[in-house]
Amino acid sequence: MIMRKNIHHDLWIGVLMCLVSVILLLRTEVMPAGAAQFPKVILGCFIAFGLWIAYKGIVKTLLIQKGHEDQVKDKPLALKQMSRPMACLAGVIVYVAIIKITGFFVASTIFTLLFMKFYGLKSLKKMLLVTLGMNVFLYVLFVMQLKVQLPEGMLNLM
């Protein structure tokens, strides 16, 4: 019996590729014939690759479960290793979300300070200098030189 935690990630990916392709293929039914032509070809290819990758995933899973892990070149994904990157991504999402509220520069200042703290930087002086330097650089380049209107946020509009 296949144990879930020992399943090679290729199997999950292959299945996901097929599922996504089928969902997108169903969507082509509402498209005009011309517009649906190319998506059908592309999604057909994606299903074929998905099936192949799933098949390879099964082979790798069986090898792992039989104790032949050394024969599998790409080791199964360790979710524990991904915890920090995911925390980092969550931080970025929160940062982007608060840009609309506080404006770009305030959000960037908060994000940069917290992110450096997250990475274990201890020197407050260094943190403040980096944040200040970055904000000044971005203001000069994007606002003054390139005339980009960076989001000001709801707080500034009140």
């Binding site: 517009a35 032509q37 994606f46 690759f49 770009f104």
Partner: protein, 505 residues
């Protein structure tokens, strides 16, 4: 061409142009020297900055970053035995040995001179080879454009690293991304799910920034708390003596030609060129036994070759619109946001811009030698900057860059989404580079495919096989699909350990 070259002075002797080129060179050297940051990331991050600039200054800055980042990679390779870019991995063999012998500065000097010569030769080759090749694109019609796009996509197989299937799947994923948006012929909004922002398709630049920059920050997040690198001692003479230079010149010349040819070949990038030229230098050398022990030729060969790749890689990009590598695909994005389409028009209608950029690229390579000589000793100190400082800066630059292209917060979310996808792809053996190539080539492939169906009047196969250029392209596609198998066999035979090809720059 000559008309454009005559008026070149007015175009390039502007403050904006000179500043952009210098910023590109200095920025590129720093980006390249920082392990973990690549030319792909640097170019992707700075495309939004070039959007508001004059096309000549903007595009010159991007090409300057490309070539300078490749050179910058050698600095950390030589001094801390950590290649800044995979293209400098071969340099570490002899370069670091020279540092251990107390000749770090000499190794940097040889690397600077070789990179400068290799890059300049490739720039001159670009100037003279690209215009006649661009004439070829005049003979192209819809079937040829479709096959050209397919040829570009089959390059994916050679960019794919370990798994060809995963590389191709990654490319097909890119084509799927390209499906989003209003259909050009029927006007039907495909896969937009009611989002007005998606009707013009998924923005290329935010997607690329996510793929290359945010995903890299996430990769680096895994390595928090790693031990600090030890910087080797800097001693010795910087520039080679005249006699030493004369001895190195044949190696530099040969390696530059190898690099140029490898660069023109779509898919084969800086890392392959540097290893091939290193092996060739060893084969030609009377002192082959000295390679790997801190031998000057072992630094000159890979450094001349990997910089010669840059000009070579621009040849198929500018003439036929085929980005053969990740950086070339990103540079194509830079061309497109300036409203420039690769092909014959670049050398006729937009000749003033194109030749100025090519000339700027040559000047950037020369400037790279001068700036490199002045700052390389200090740049290595930058490699000591911790990820705690670099990562938030990269994230903020990614956010502001994604926003600035279209003043759209939606594009920031696109960047974040592609950052996550890029990270997961890299973790599971699917590299984002083929996806980026496919996003760029997708519309060309679809337009060519659908128009050739109409033109073939029901006999698609007969129509394609009846066109000589199509036959040549079909042969090239087959060759391209088989080349990874051949390359793997050859690398195995030569004992070359090449990194994931797509990350070569």
């Amino acid at each position: 061409m000559w008309d454009a070259l005559i008026h070149l002075g007015d175009k390039i002797m502007t403050i904006q142009f000179l500043l952009a080129m210098t910023a590109g060179v200095v920025g590129g050297i720093i980006i390249g020297a920082l392990p973990g940051l690549s030319a792909s990331m640097g170019v992707a991050l700075l495309i939004p900055v070039t959007f508001g600039m004059d096309p000549i200054a903007g595009l010159t800055m991007l090409t300057a970053i490309y070539t300078a980042a490749i050179y910058g990679g050698s600095i950390s390779s030589i001094l801390i035995h950590t290649p800044g870019t995979p293209a400098s991995a071969a340099t570490a063999l002899d370069g670091y040995q020279m540092t251990l012998k107390g000749q770090g500065l000499r190794a940097l000097g040889i690397s600077t001179v070789s990179s400068c010569i290799g890059g300049t030769i490739s720039g001159v080759a670009l100037l003279f080879l690209a215009p006649p090749l661009a004439l070829l694109s005049l003979r192209f019609s819809s079937p040829e454009y479709f096959l050209m796009a397919i040829f570009g996509l089959t390059i994916i197989a050679s960019l794919a690293g370990d798994s060809i299937v995963k590389g191709l799947a990654s490319g097909v994923f890119g084509l799927m991304v390209g499906l989003v948006g209003t259909d050009i012929l029927t006007g039907f909004p495909r896969y937009t799910y009611g989002f007005v922002e998606l009707e013009s398709g998924i923005s290329l630049v935010p997607a690329m920034i996510g793929f290359f920059s945010l995903s890299q920050v996430m990769i680096q997040a895994e390595k928090v708390g790693e031990t600090k690198r030890v910087i080797g001692e800097l001693a010795g003479r910087f520039l080679p003596t005249w006699q030493e230079f004369k001895d190195l010149l044949p190696t530099i010349g040969r390696s530059s030609i190898i690099g140029l040819l490898v660069g023109i070949l779509p898919g084969a990038g800086g890392d392959i060129a540097s290893w091939v030229s290193y092996n060739e230098a060893k084969r030609f050398s009377k002192n082959s036994h000295k390679f790997g022990t801190g031998f000057a030729e072992g630094v000159a060969a890979p450094e001349a070759a990997n910089n010669a790749v840059t000009g070579g890689a621009l040849i198929p990009l500018l003439t036929l619109g085929i980005p053969g590598s990740a950086v070339a695909a990103i540079l194509m994005g830079g061309l497109m946001i300036q409203g420039l389409q690769p092909g014959h028009e670049l050398f006729t209608k937009h000749a003033n811009i194109t030749y100025s950029v090519i000339f700027g690229f040559i000047m950037a390579n020369i400037l790279m030698g001068i700036v490199g000589a002045a700052i390389c000793k200090y740049v290595v100190k930058i490699t000591d900057i911790s990820q705690a400082v670099l990562s938030p800066i990269i994230v903020v630059l990614s956010v502001v860059g994604s926003f600035a292209i279209d003043n759209s917060v939606f594009d920031i979310y696109v960047m974040v989404a592609f950052g996550l996808v890029g990270y997961l792809m890299r973790k599971t053996g699917f590299h984002p580079a083929p996806a980026v190539l496919a996003i760029v080539l997708g519309s060309m492939a679809e337009a060519g495919f659908r128009q050739s169906i109409v033109m073939s009047k029901g006999d698609l196969l007969g129509y394609y096989l009846g066109r000589p250029l199509c036959l040549v392209l079909i042969a090239l596609i087959l060759l391209s699909l088989l080349s990874p198998v051949f390359m793997k066999w050859w690398q195995k035979k030569q004992g070359i350990a090449v990194s994931d090809g797509s990350d070569e720059e």
